[in-house]
Structures are given as C-alpha cells and as structure tokens.
C-alpha cells in the first residue's frame, strides 16, 4: 500500500507537469491551427535559461523564474507568432508540420550552440533542502507539492481566462470563425499573439518543473514532452478538461510502471516508451474522422516525364562516377551517404508527395532494413537487400494498418510514436525468442557490424566502388518512383491526395491503396537503410533514431516532396553541403546545426519547394537539346582534364556548377533577342491589327498564350 501511494504521488506529479505542457499545446493549436512540435523544445529552452540564470549566474529563484516565465517565454511566443506562424495561413497540413518540426530542430540546434552538450548541468529541485511532508504512510517532496499546486493553478487560471474573460472567449471564437471574429470588432491577431505568449509560458513552466528529474539535455528534454502530446490527444487537441484527464492517465501509467514493472532487460525500455505507446493507442481509438473532401492547397507538382527521369538517372550515375574518381578516401566516406540515404529520402516521395500521407518514421524503417542487412547479409550477400525490403515493407504495412484511419497531424504523431517506441524499446532489446518459434534480434544491446556488399563475386568494400554502386541503385530507385507515378497506381495515389471522398465515390479501395503505398515506401526506406549500413560498416540505434530522421523528412519536403529531385536536394544539402560548409569554414561550423531548421522554416513562404524553382530556372536549358549536348560535352571535357590532373578538385567542382548555369543563361540570352525583334511587342495585344498590321508573329504569340498549338514556349515571360 505504501508503495502504491508513493508511486501514485510520483505519477500524479508527473501528470501535473504533462497537464501544464499539454494545455499550452492545446491553447496554441486551437487558436492557430498549428500543432507545435516545437512546444517541448520551448520548454527545454526555458529550462536551460532557468539553469543559466539561477544555477550558473546565481540569480535568486524568484527573479530567475519571473525573467524566464513572464518575460522571455511570452516574448518568444509572440515572436514565433509574428515571424512564423502568421505566414502559415492557407498552407497544407504537411507544410505546417514541417515548419513546426523545423522549429524543433532549429531550437535543439540553438541550445546545443549556446550550451555545450558535453557538460553536466545539475539542477536542484524546488525546496530540495526542506524535509518532505509526510502524508500517512508516505511522503510528498516539496518539489512534488509545488508541481501539483502549479498544475491546479494553471487549470483554474486557464478556465477563468477562457470562459470568464472576454479575451479568452475571443481566443475560442477565433478558432470557430476567424472572419466573424473580425466582424465583431475583436482583433484575432492580438488574440493569437496572446495565446502563443501564454502557451509558450506554460511550456516553460513544464520544462522547468520536469528538468530536475531528468538530465538537462536538449533533444531528450524536447522529446520527453511527447508524453504531453499523448495527454493533449486525449482531449482531441481541443478539450482542456479531457487533456487534464489524459495527463493523469499518462502520468500515473508511467508512475506505476516505474514502481511495478519487473526488472527484466526486455521491459526496461517499455517504461520510457510507455507514454508513447499510450499515445499510439489513444490515436487509434479516437473517433474516426470523416473522409476528406477537396483540399485547397497552394502546392502543385508536375508529373515527371520519362525523358526527364532518364536524364536524371544518367546524371546521378555520372555524378557517382565523378565523385568516386575525384574524391579522396576520407571524403568518399563523408559524402558516401548522399546516395544511400537518398533512397530513404526517396521513399518519402510516393508517400507524402503522391499520396499525401505523412510519415515521420522513415528512418526507423531504414533502421529495420539495416538490422536485417546486419543479420542476414553476412559476407555481403545482396539477397539480404531483398529481405530488407520485404521485412521493412511488412513492418511498414503493419504500422500502417492501424494508422490508416488517421490523417494529417494524427498520422504524423502515430508514426512519430512508432519511431520513438523503436528508439526507446525495441531497438534496445536483447535477443528475443518469440514463443520458442523463432528468434528476433535487433541491435543486441550494442552495435552491429555489417559486411559490405559482394555482388557476383565482385566486392564493393572500396568506398569508390561503393559510391558508384550506390549512385546506380539510387538512379534505379528514382526510376522506380517515376514509374509508380506514371502508372495507374500513381494516378490513384494523386487522386487520393486531392480528394479521398471523390476516390471513394469512384469505387477506389482507399484502404488497400494506402496500405500498398505505406508498404512500398517502407520497403524503399528499408533498402536505403540496408545500403547505408553496408557503407557504415558498424551500426547502432543512434544512427536511425527519431531526431536524426527529422532533417531527412524536413529537407525532402523543403525540396518539394512531389518530385524525385527533392530526395537529391535533401541528401545533398544534409550530407554534402553541410559537411562541406563545416570543412570550409570551421570557425562558424558550430552554427551549421541550426541551418536545416532555418531551411525548413523558409517553407512557410515557399510551399512549392526548392526543386520546382530550380526546374523552372533551368527551363531554357532543359528545352534546348543542342545546349544539353554542349553542356554534357563540356562537363565530359572538364572531367577528362581533371583525370589528367590539369584541373584540381576545387576548380573542377566550381566549373561543374558554373557550366550548366552559364549554358542556361546563354540559351536564355539567345532566345531573348528574337523576342525583342518582334515588331511592336510593346503594343498591347488588343490593339494589334488596329494600330499596326496583324502579323504571323502575333498569331503565334496568341496561340502560345492560349496553348492552342503544341508550341514549346521559350524563355521566361
């Protein structure tokens, strides 16, 4: 009984913290429609600031608390609203997701930048020196007392604000109908800013209360708050009372698991993963959302052509050969990940880009592929790749099965929780026998070694050959994705993204389609992970954890997730440009940690993606076969010069970038004078034939503008 009481108190005080954090999350979600993945990170930053002021600089507790919770946190919230969240109106849910995840990554980066992660930062609990209060057979520490009272105060305060104060009512009104709120004379902007200020302050309170019980570490502290998400989901992200109920359920579950879970290497991870499992289950039993109708979106992606796809594949292989023959051995190892992780990024294209289904656990599928490779790919057996695809695809379908009813943020949360369950529990398990039938093993509580591939007796241990192999496989995977997009299945996927309701009326089997695309995408990720593992040689769970996977997701979406090129954009920027940047400018390399986050934030302004811009920019070159031929010729010549050691690596690399751009500019320059020669291009269209005679050129221009003939339109207008 004593034990039960003790752990009830532990559970309730945890619940109190979760409820504070979750209520802040609900507040910002309901008022702005942005599910803030970075909510936990805001709490983490608050905890770090508090540590800095109170424990490092020795400010008195009240001063530090006031500065953090009443000044810094609200200001930060207002800043977030003004700079970022405001621009998200009218964007798709994926974009909002990416922006808030980018914020999470940027904030973790920021804290690592300011507070070096390798130092230990002990944080004392509140009133740590005071004797605990005895309650019957057990005791409550003052910290627990403070926590519980804070939660009660927050609950009461929020209730008062939201139902008794006009500004609180306006907050809820803005959720219902923003335009109507303006029509009543309220100012939704201010209301939203206030909501963000309060929400961020609540995250701060939670962060400061929870940090002393854990290690003050940026990413773990940001993710502990996933438990708070589970609480918020209880209230379907809307109802505050249900959120508090959810917090009690999650908190107590964690408390009792801590007290009663038997000591076993199989179950230790379960304790930390418990809240995530609860999140997963709650997501699944939520009432089924209705089929979505047409979604207004500002994001459109063109269907790829075979010509373009083959060109892309050829360029990838050529790129692989060039890298393999010009780079030094250590550089090859650094940049070798571009193509293998490129396949993982590629797996997002059919899933998010075509089908509109969000997954945050692609790198976890890659991890499964890698484990399969380690166990079955002894001696570099390429058949293990097939197993990796099958097993990862199977797990993908299994995960998708319950998650299929979900969409948008709910799906994102479900996949994220799956990834975290893997991180915290399944990947940490020792060898495990399932009912004595067969044995399953993951990382065997350590790291695994993986042999490099051997295909038909040819070994690919050498990083150069590996690079070429990977580039070929990446090119093949890209062609596969293009084929999927151009097949009947691809059309169904795109139709499903546009309107599930319309698809249902056409008799399309949504369930099977979603299952298939999840399995396909997971299989692709599994192969990518397996290949990545052969390159690494030794893998550990850390290579495939949730936080590591976030930048891949982000940068692919930033690239424009409906296009194959986005995968390349993602891995080149993450695994080539970033390391290069750090190598070139070591003095500011530390700042590189925030760059992917900042890139993700740019998506709020340009939801179409970066690859689209590049594609459009290179339109003149792409539509001129002679220019393409010339460019390829020049690049080949440059490569020859490089091979003959006439050119060094640097001039070669610079020229590789400059040549296509110059060719593009040249083609554009050539086509422009033609236009200028047109007689009277300055005369408005409706006056031609009136103020001057009608010419053949006018007819062509009109046809082009109307798209009557199949005339290629040259040059940007």
């Amino acid at each position: 009984m004593d034990k039960f009481l003790t752990f009830t108190i532990v559970g309730l005080s945890t619940a109190a913290i979760y409820s504070v954090i979750a209520s802040g999350l609900v507040l910002t979600y309901t008022t702005t429609g942005v599910f803030n993945f970075a909510h936990g990170a805001a709490g983490m930053l608050a905890a770090f600031c508090y540590w800095q002021f109170h424990f490092d600089w020795g400010w008195p507790t009240p001063v530090a608390l006031v500065v953090v919770l009443l000044v810094l946190a609200p200001l930060f919230g207002v800043l977030l609203e003004m700079v970022i969240m405001r621009n998200l109106e009218g964007t798709s849910e994926t974009t909002r997701l990416v922006v808030s995840i980018s914020l999470l990554v940027a904030m973790i980066g920021l804290s690592v930048l300011i507070w070096k992660p390798d130092e230990s930062r002990p944080m004392a609990r509140f009133f740590q020196s005071s004797a605990p209060i005895s309650v019957g057979p057990t005791t409550i520490t003052w910290h627990q007392m403070v926590t519980l009272l804070t939660a009660v105060a927050v609950a009461l305060g929020l209730w008062l604000v939201l139902t008794r104060m006009r500004v609180g009512i306006a907050m809820r009104a803005a959720v219902d109908d923003r335009n109507l709120t303006m029509l009543t004379g309220a100012r939704p902007r201010r209301v939203q800013m206030l909501a963000w200020a309060i929400g961020t302050a609540l995250a701060g309170i939670g962060g400061i209360l929870i940090a002393p019980g854990l290690v003050l570490d940026a990413s773990s502290l940001s993710l502990v708050i996933v438990s708070a998400y589970a609480a918020a989901i209880f209230g379907r992200l809307r109802s505050l009372p249900m959120t508090f109920v959810g917090a009690v359920v999650v908190g107590c579950a964690e408390g009792y698991l801590q007290g009663y879970l038997p000591q076993s290497p199989f179950l230790t991870g379960l304790r930390t993963a418990a809240s995530v499992l609860i999140l997963f289950v709650v997501l699944l039993v939520l009432p089924n959302p209705r089929l979505r109708g047409r979604i207004r979106s500002r994001e459109f992606f063109p269907a790829p052509t075979w010509k373009g796809a083959l060109g892309f594949a050829a360029a990838m292989v050529a790129g692989g050969v060039i890298l393999a023959t010009t780079l030094s051995r250590p550089d090859l190892i650094t940049y070798g990940q571009v193509f293998s992780l490129g396949i993982v990024a590629l797996s997002l294209v059919p899933l998010i880009g075509f089908a509109g289904q969000v997954s945050l656990c692609q790198l976890s599928f890659a991890g499964i592929g890698a484990v399969v490779m380690a166990h079955l790919g002894g001696g570099g057996n390429p058949l293990a790749l097939l197993w990796a695809a099958l097993i990862a695809g199977g797990v993908g379908a299994l995960v998708a099965l319950p998650a299929l009813r979900l969409s948008g943020i709910y799906l994102a949360l479900a996949t994220a929780s799956f990834a975290i369950v893997l991180d915290r529990w399944l990947f940490l398990l020792p060898r495990l026998s399932v009912f004595g039938l067969f044995e399953v093993s993951t990382f065997n509580q350590g790291s695994l070694s993986v042999d490099s591939l051997t295909i038909f007796g040819a070994s690919f241990a050498d990083p150069g050959r590996q690079m070429i192999l990977m580039s070929v496989l990446f090119a093949l995977a890209a062609l596969l994705v293009v084929w999927v997009r151009r097949s009947a299945f691809g059309r169904i996927l795109v139709a499903m993204k546009d309107s599930e309701a319309a698809c249902a009326t056409l008799g399309i089997d949504l369930f099977g389609t979603k299952l298939a695309v999840f399995a396909l995408s997971a299989a692709l990720a599994g192969v990518g992970g397996a290949l990545y593992a052969t390159q690494l040689g030794s893998i550990s769970p850390g290579n495939f954890d949730f936080v590591t996977g976030l930048p891949v997701f982000m940068m692919t979406v930033v690239g424009g997730v409906g296009m194959v090129g986005a995968a390349l954009f993602c891995t080149v920027s993450l695994y080539a440009v970033l390391p290069l940047y750090s190598a070139l400018l070591p003095s500011i390399a530390r700042y590189a940690v925030v760059l992917p986050g900042l890139a993700g934030l740019s998506l709020a302004r340009n939801p179409g993606g970066a690859v689209q811009d590049v594609r459009e920019g290179f339109l003149p070159l792409r539509t001129s076969p002679p220019a393409i031929g010339a460019t390829v010729g020049i690049v080949a010549g440059l490569y020859l010069l490089r091979m003959l050691d006439v050119l060094g690596n640097w001039p070669f690399a610079v020229l590789l970038i400059v040549v296509p751009m110059a060719a593009n500019a040249a083609v554009q320059g050539l086509s422009r004078p033609e236009k200028a020669e047109e007689p009277g291009a300055d005369v408005p269209l409706e006056w031609r034939g009136i103020v001057r005679p009608w010419t053949e050129a006018d007819r062509i221009e009109l046809d082009q503008a109307l798209g009557v003939n199949e005339v290629e339109i040259h040059g940007a207008t």
Binding site: R166, I169, D176, L183, G185, A186
Partner: protein, 259 residues
C-alpha cells in the same frame, strides 16, 4: 421570437448611433458608397467594376443569382476582402484597407452568409463577443433577450446546437444590440423556414425605421422587395440594373435567366 411592439428602445438607440457615426462628417448623403469595385480570388475575378450606393437611412436590396458576386461585394464593403481596384467609402471616408475589426468598431455590421455565430461558444459567450465594438454586456444581453426570449432560455447552450432559426436570431442580435449605423445582411433567408424568414424581415423593417442604413443581399427577391426602398440586380460581377423595388420586380425573372 416575437419582434413585439415594445421595440421602442432599439428604435431610439439606433437613431442615436447614426448621429454618432455621422457626427464628424456633416450631412453625408450616402452611408456606403462603392465606386467601380473590382475584386477576385487568386487569379479569378469576381467583381468587374461595381458601383453601389446606400443612402442614409434607407434600405437597399441587392439581388442576383448564385455566383453573381454579391457576397464578395459585402466582404469588400466590410473590409474582409481587399478590392483590386475601386474605392470603398463609408460615411464619406475612403476605407480601403481598413481592417474589418476597425470598421466594425466604427459602426459597420456585417451578418455573414450562413449562420453568423460561433458554434462552439455558448449563447452568452456569443453575446459577450458582441461587446468588442464598445457596448456594455448588460445592454447587449438585455436587448437580445428582449427581442428573442428564446435566447434567454438557451443562454448556456452552445450556439452550434441551436436550431437554424435560433442561430440566425443570435446572429441578428448583433445587428440590433451593437447599434450599428450601417447594417449589411447576407442571405438572411438561407436554409430557413419561410415563416421565420418573414419574422426576420419584419425585424429588418423595424431596424430600418430606427434610421439604420441597411444593405440586404438575397437570392430570392420576394421577401426583400417589400422592405427595400431601392433595389439593384447584380449579374456576373456587375450591377445590371438599379431602380425602385416595384420597377425591378418585373424584370427579375429575365435577369435570372440571363436575358
């Protein structure tokens, strides 16, 4: 809802507000003037140079078929939608780009199409939202419950659970209780039983008697023409015809058929 005979308080109050709104502008003829308004969504134009005037103290009916741009015009007038060209003049002042909230505080009240209520707030909370324009909560409550006794019974209920007619009453309560100088009504009759529509329009007539200038948009003309002093027909983003209600009544069917 019985818009009873005891509507004297609102009549007086309404008149007061008009004076207040026009105080600084001397005698402005038109409370609302739209001058060659063009507007659209994304790249699709909806309005092609609309001119419309709402003279002080009169009721103007704006009629037209689905998709004519009537609601867009009201959104432009209320500051929810920025016109691509043209001027919105309220009480003699050009107000292009003035936020909707500021216009609302200045005495312009748009009751939007559909139910102009917050479905997840209770009736009382909906009424509380009406105090943003500067009137007291007690006044608002008194006025609303006086006009629509049913709302008092339902004051703790969430607005989304009210019947369609009750929701429209709650929406109309804003037009009454906040004492606007200019009232814009968008499709009051939408989805309501004819008897309720009649009652609502009887109320509109009373508000008009108090001196409030009103612009009413409707697809179905019959009910409005009885209340209106002037009418205009809008087709394909243009005002096709203006005149007295009796003049236009005969032409309406032709206008709807695109003649």
């Amino acid at each position: 809802m019985t818009p009873g005979p005891a509507s004297g308080t609102a009549v007086a109050a309404g008149a007061r507000t008009v004076d207040r709104a026009a105080a600084g502008d001397g005698a402005v003829e038109n409370l609302l003037e739209l001058r060659s308004i063009r507007a659209g969504y994304d790249r699709i134009d909806v309005l092609f140079g609309v001119d419309l005037e709402v003279p002080r103290g009169s009721v103007v009916a704006l009629l037209g078929p689905n998709g004519a741009g009537k609601s867009t015009l009201l959104r432009v007038a209320a500051g929810l939608h920025l016109p691509s060209s043209g001027d919105v003049v309220v009480a003699g002042r050009r107000v292009n780009g003035v936020p909707a909230a500021d216009l609302a505080r200045a005495g312009l009240c748009l009751i939007p199409e559909g139910r102009g209520v917050f479905p997840n707030l209770t009736v009382r909370e909906n009424l509380r939202m009406m105090t943003h324009v500067g009137c007291g909560f007690d006044e608002v409550e008194e006025e609303a419950y006086h006009r629509f006794p049913r709302l008092r019974e339902r004051r703790r209920q969430t607005a989304g659970t009210l019947s369609g007619g009750e929701q429209q009453m709650l929406a109309m309560a804003r037009g009454l209780a906040t004492r606007p100088a200019l009232l814009l009504l968008d499709e009051l009759s939408m989805g309501l039983a004819p008897i309720i529509v009649e009652e609502l329009y009887a109320l509109v007539a009373q508000i008009a008697q108090a001196g409030v200038s009103i612009l009413v948009v409707e697809q179905f003309a019959g009910v409005v023409l009885g209340v209106a002093d002037q009418a205009a027909i809008m087709i394909n983003g243009r005002v096709a015809r203006t005149g007295s209600p009796s003049e236009l009544e005969t032409e309406l069917s032709g206008a709807y058929l695109g003649a």
